[in-house]
C-alpha cells in the first residue's frame, strides 16, 4: 500500500497516520507556515497544542486552519497563508 501523502505548496510529503499537519511540515524541515498581517513577517508553530495560533495555514482552500490541531490526511493540500493577501481578498 502507498503511504499517505500531503501536498505542501508544490512538495509532496509522506507521513505516518496520526500526525498533525504541523508535525508533518516540521519533520520535513518547514518552519515558516505563514506571514503575519501586521508586519508581514514569517511565523511558524510555537506551542503545538492549539493555544498560540501561530501555525495557521490554508488547508484544502480553507484559510486560518490550526496546523497543529488538524490531523494530516491523504491527499490534503496545504499552503502557506499570507494574511495580508487574505485580508485584502476579504475586503474585495
Amino acid at each position: 500500500m502507498q503511504p499517505p501523502v500531503l501536498v505542501f505548496e508544490d512538495q509532496e510529503f509522506n507521513f505516518e497516520s496520526g500526525a498533525s499537519v504541523a508535525a508533518v511540515l516540521l519533520i520535513n524541515g518547514v518552519c515558516e507556515f505563514r506571514t503575519t498581517q501586521v508586519g508581514g513577517v514569517a511565523r511558524g508553530p510555537y506551542c503545538m497544542m492549539g493555544a498560540c495560533f501561530d501555525c495557521l495555514v490554508e488547508i484544502d482552500g480553507v484559510p486560518n486552519r490550526q496546523a497543529c490541531m488538524t490531523p494530516a490526511r491523504d491527499g490534503m493540500r496545504v499552503k502557506r497563508q499570507d494574511h495580508r493577501t487574505f485580508l485584502m481578498d476579504l475586503g474585495g
Binding site: G18, A23, C31, V41, A42, Y46, M49, A51, N64
Partner: protein
C-alpha cells in the same frame, strides 16, 4: 435520570476523576481536544510504542497505565468520551458548547469538572516569534506524537522540564547544543530552605533532577546558568541565541531554540465563567480560587470543580490525586452512597506532599525579570505584534489596566485571545504603576474561547 457530570480535559486530572465517577455509578461526558487521551503530559500515551515509552521515561509510563485504564472505563454505558472536541463556551447555567469536525454541539450538566491544564509561561524576549523558536513543550509534543526529536536545538529558560527534555533528546541521539538557563546559584541556595519539609517520596523528584543533570553533563552538553539579556536572531539559515554570561557576551547557533520558563494555569475558561482568580507570587501566575476540594469560587457559576494544573501548578502526579479529590467531592455533593470521606481526607494529605516540592521549584527556577517585565522592541503580543515599548507608552498615556491597553494598542485582541501576552501585560502595568497584581487584574475573557466560524455556528440544532 442519574446525575450527569461534565469533564473538560482528559489529562491526568480529568482521566482520574472520570474513572472514579464512572465506577461510583455517575453518568459522565468527557470532552478532550486531542485525538487520544493523556493531556499534554501523557500525550498519545495509550498508543505510544514501547521504544518511545522507554525513551520518555517512567513518569510517562504512569500515563500509559492511566490512559489505558481510562479507555477501558469509556466503554461503560454511563461514560461518553468525545475526543477532538474544542470547548468554545461554558454557560454558568450548566451548558457546555463544543465543536468537533466543524459541527457544534452542546450538553447540559449537573456538575462540571474543568481539568484543562496549563500553558507554558509567555517568554517575551527578542526573537521569540521567529520560525524555529518554539516552546520546550512543543518539541515534546512532536516527540510524543511523531516519535521525531528535533535535531540541532538550544534549550533556553529555567525549570526542570528543560533537563527532562534535554535527557530525552540525548537518549534519542540528538543532544541539544547547549542549555541556556536564567536561574543562578543564589536562587538554588535560597530555595533550599524548603528542602527540610520534604519526605522521601518528594525528595525522589529532586534526586531524579540531579540524575538528569549528570546525564546532561556526561553527554557533554554545555550549561550556561544565571545568564541575562537573551536575544534570538536569524542569521543566514539558522538561529543565533546570544546572552550575557557574567561579563562575557556569548552566543550559540542552532536550527531550533526551545523556550521554557515554567507553566501557568490556563485560565481562559475559568475566567469566562467569572470564577475568582488570585495572584500566586510563588509561581508568578493567576490561579483560580477554589476550596480545598477544588470547588470553584464564583458569584455566578455553581457546581464547578477545578482539578490539576489548570487549578494550581503541582505537576502530573498531584493532578491525578486532585482529579480523585474532586470526584470524591462530587460524590459527596450529589449524595452518592459510595462517597468516602476518609478517602477524600487521605487524598488531600497525599496532595499536600507536593506543595514543598513546588515551593522549592518556584524559588529555584523563578522566571527572570527580563521575561516577566520586558522592555524595548521585544514583542509582547505575538498576534497583533505589539511591542513592550508600545505597551509602556500606552500606560504612560493613561491606560488604566489590561482591558484599556487592548483599546490603546490592540494587545490581547488577536487569535490567541491573550493566552500568550496576558500575564506579561498585567505584570507591566503592575510594575509601571507600582500596583499589586490582584489590583491590576487581567483581560476580561469572553466566549467564544476558540474561534468558530458562522458556518460552524449554523450547524447548531436545539
Amino acid at each position: 435520570m442519574t446525575t450527569h457530570i461534565g469533564i473538560i480535559g482528559a489529562g491526568p486530572a480529568g482521566m482520574s476523576a472520570a474513572i472514579r465517577l464512572v465506577e461510583a455509578g455517575c453518568r459522565i461526558t468527557i470532552l478532550d481536544e486531542q485525538p487520544s487521551p493523556g493531556g499534554q503530559i501523557y500525550r498519545n500515551a495509550s498508543i505510544a510504542s514501547d521504544p518511545l515509552i522507554t525513551l520518555l521515561g517512567d513518569d510517562y509510563e504512569t500515563g500509559v497505565r492511566l490512559s489505558r485504564k481510562f479507555l477501558m472505563i469509556t466503554e461503560h454505558e454511563h461514560c461518553r468520551y468525545i475526543p477532538n472536541a474544542s470547548v468554545w463556551s461554558v454557560n454558568p447555567d450548566g451548558i457546555v458548547n463544543w465543536i468537533v469536525d466543524e459541527q457544534v454541539d452542546a450538553f447540559g450538566f449537573d456538575g462540571l469538572i474543568i481539568g484543562n491544564g496549563a500553558l507554558e509561561r509567555p517568554m517575551p524576549l527578542k526573537g521569540w516569534t521567529l520560525p524555529g523558536v518554539m516552546t520546550v513543550g512543543a518539541a515534546q509534543i512532536l516527540l510524543k506524537t511523531s516519535e521525531t526529536p528535533l535535531r540541532d536545538t538550544v534549550l533556553v529558560g529555567a525549570g526542570p522540564l528543560l533537563y527532562l527534555v534535554a535527557v530525552q533528546l540525548i537518549r534519542s541521539g540528538f543532544p541539544p547544543k547547549a542549555i541556556v538557563e536564567t536561574q543562578s546559584l543564589t536562587d538554588l541556595i535560597k530555595a533550599s530552605r524548603h528542602l527540610w519539609r520534604m519526605n522521601t517520596k518528594t525528595l525522589a523528584y529532586l534526586v531524579k533532577g540531579l540524575e538528569f543533570i549528570s546525564v546532561i553533563k556526561k553527554a557533554g552538553v554545555r550549561r550556561y546558568t544565571g545568564v541575562k539579556r537573551i536575544e534570538i536572531d536569524k542569521v543566514a539559515d539558522h538561529l543565533r541565541i546570544s546572552f550575557k554570561d557574567g561579563s562575557r557576551l556569548r552566543w550559540v547557533e542552532s536550527e531550533y531554540a526551545l523556550l521554557h520558563s515554567g507553566v501557568v494555569p490556563n485560565t481562559q475558561m475559568t475566567r469566562s465563567l467569572d470564577i475568582d482568580h488570585r495572584w500566586n507570587p510563588g509561581n508568578q501566575s493567576f490561579d483560580p480560587v477554589t476550596n480545598q476540594f477544588g470547588l470553584a469560587k464564583s458569584a455566578v457559576s455553581k457546581n464547578i470543580w477545578l482539578a490539576g494544573d489548570g487549578a494550581k501548578i503541582l505537576g502530573a502526579d498531584a493532578a491525578i490525586i486532585s482529579g480523585k479529590i474532586v470526584a470524591e467531592d462530587v460524590l459527596d455533593k450529589f449524595s452518592f452512597t459510595s462517597f468516602d470521606p476518609a478517602r477524600r481526607k487521605n487524598l488531600l494529605k497525599q496532595k499536600d506532599r507536593f506543595v514543598p516540592v513546588r515551593q522549592f521549584l518556584d524559588e529555584c527556577y523563578r522566571p527572570s525579570t527580563e521575561i516577566l517585565d520586558p522592555d524595548g522592541d521585544v514583542i509582547v503580543c505575538r498576534c497583533e505584534e505589539v511591542k513592550a515599548v508600545d505597551v509602556r507608552k500606552a500606560i504612560a498615556l493613561g491606560a488604566q489596566g489590561p482591558n484599556q491597553l487592548k483599546v490603546f494598542t490592540r494587545c490581547g485582541m488577536g487569535n490567541c485571545q491573550g493566552r500568550y501576552c496576558g500575564l506579561t501585560v498585567s505584570q507591566m502595568v503592575a510594575s509601571a504603576r507600582d500596583m499589586e497584581l490582584d489590583e491590576v487584574g487581567y483581560y476580561r475573557i469572553r466566549t467564544p474561547l476558540k474561534p468558530i466560524t458562522l458556518k460552524e455556528l449554523s450547524t447548531y440544532h436545539e
